[in-house]
């Protein structure tokens, strides 16, 4: 199907463009984003605070629709079908589905990506960084359209081939590279480990101070890839305020809390029913099952190690029931 994007040629009275993709329309004003879609009772309008919408949109774009489900909130989101993308409203909220007020449409990935990038570019004002914590980026997202922030929304995700810091691989963060220590981690020691390789292993073993690496993270809720073994990805990250999406994964995902604390709200991936609250403190490890969606809340900037299984074969194994949605049964 082709649901061509229509850009309204004239911006609205406060300067923002409106967008259309398939049956959905998107508008924004000083405070809110308005998403509309057709229902049996006429067009439904859903409101999201513009800062929350932009933070979620930033992740969906930067992560290339991520693993399966990215919920911007309890109503609107996308499902990555790995080649196509579903966009939905109310389809994973049993209140909407029980009333028949939900809509899901499927698009070619390049098509929806182009529209999402255009929305993000037009609706992000100068001075607002959707990857930053609120205390860092303030309230520039509000009000009439005021410039843009292409540098912030266009920066690359940090990914390594084997391990950050290895010769020829992604470099470590430093003051010189524009990664100062975040004020929240001013007390984190910056010493690097000494490496004494046995003869024959020089250049083949490597180590970094992971806490120092993370203390220089310039983004929140945006895991970088710091080491790779086949399809096992270690993705450490720093988290502050609210994970801008509710992530419904199609595989098991592991979290190891390295510092401070994160409170997680866990919901059923299909209905949105509450399933659990998890409070993670330093040293805690948790696996997020493949049949839930999760959202984290960090009152202070926290260090978290996310362990992802990138093996594409596990999706089918979960979907067919060949393996359970959790890694261990008690």
């Amino acid at each position: 199907m082709s649901n061509s994007a229509i850009y309204e040629p004239i911006s609205n009275e406060i300067g923002y463009k409106s967008f259309k993709l398939g049956s959905f329309t998107f508008h924004r004003d000083e405070y809110f984003v308005y998403i509309e879609w057709p229902t049996k009772n006429g067009r439904m309008t859903h409101y999201i605070s513009a800062d929350a919408f932009l933070r979620a949109m930033m992740r969906d774009v930067a992560w290339g629709f991520f693993y399966y489900q990215v919920n911007f909130d309890h109503v609107f989101g996308t499902n990555n079908l790995y080649g196509k993308v579903e966009m939905f409203a109310g389809s994973f909220n049993e209140t909407y589905t029980s009333q028949g007020l939900n809509l899901t449409e499927t698009y070619e990935t390049p098509e929806i990506m182009a529209v999402f990038k255009a929305i993000l570019a037009d609706w992000t004002n100068e001075g607002f960084d959707p990857f930053a914590a609120p205390r860092e980026t303030g309230i520039a997202w509000m009000g009439r359209k005021n410039g843009d922030n292409a540098a912030a929304i266009g920066r690359d995700r940090e990914t390594c081939k084997r391990m950050v810091g290895l010769p020829g691989d992604a470099p470590l963060r430093s003051d010189d590279r524009g990664y100062p220590v975040n004020p929240a981690f001013a007390d984190v020691p910056q010493e690097a480990p000494e490496i004494h390789a046995a003869p024959g292993y020089e250049g083949r073993v490597f180590a970094i101070n992971l806490f120092a690496y993370l203390s220089r993270s310039d983004v929140t809720w945006n895991p970088s890839i710091s080491s790779v073994v086949k399809t096992n990805l270690f993705c450490p990250t720093t988290e502050e305020y609210i994970l801008p999406i509710k992530h419904g994964n199609d595989r098991v995902e592991w979290f190891l809390q390295l510092s401070d604390a994160i409170n997680w709200e866990i919901e059923d991936k299909t209905t949105g029913r509450p399933r659990a609250k998890v409070i993670m403190k330093p040293g805690d490890i948790a696996s997020m099952p493949a049949d839930i969606r999760h959202q984290g809340f960090a009152a202070k900037r926290a260090m978290l190690l996310v362990w992802e299984n990138a093996n594409p074969k596990v999706v089918e194994l979960h979907n067919t029931g060949a393996i359970p949605p959790y890694p261990v049964a008690f």
């Binding site: 930067a62 992560w63 290339g64 629709f65 991520f66 990555n80 790995y82 080649g83 070619e108 990935t109 390049p110 990506m113 690359d156 995700r157 990914t159 081939k161 890839i225 790779v228 086949k230 399809t231 990805l233 992802e308 990138a310 093996n311 594409p312």
Partner: protein, 113 residues
């Protein structure tokens, strides 16, 4: 550096059997494949492994996503690569590179060099 999983002289595909622009996959064992890209007369080949998450660029056998003139998009997280040099020009691993596989043409046949 990733090892190239095909021996020199291995026939990978025939240009005449490819779309233009188009992509074809040559399976080299159970866990590796080579991606052959064609645009007009220009043919290039790379390991079929996205540098973002080290997984194949396609989610379905023999199905690759074209993302505009001379561009291919990874099915998983939308990284966009140039046919001509394998550079990732957009997406979550922008600035990275597909691993090139040296080829030569023997008439219509694309052969690992």
């Amino acid at each position: 550096m990733s090892a190239i999983p095909v021996a020199p002289g291995t026939a990978l595909c025939r240009i005449g059997q490819m779309d233009d622009p188009g992509a074809q996959e040559y399976h080299a064992g159970a866990s590796a494949s080579v991606l052959v890209l064609r645009e007009g007369e220009r043919v290039t080949a790379y390991l079929n492994r996205c540098p973002h998450f080290q997984i194949p660029l396609n989610s379905r056998p023999a199905h690759f996503i074209m993302a505009g003139k001379g561009l291919l998009m990874c099915a998983y997280h939308s990284a966009v690569f140039r046919f001509s040099d394998g550079a990732c020009v957009e997406g979550p691993c922008a600035g990275s590179q597909l691993t090139q596989v040296a080829i030569r043409l023997e008439g219509d046949l694309v052969v690992a060099a």
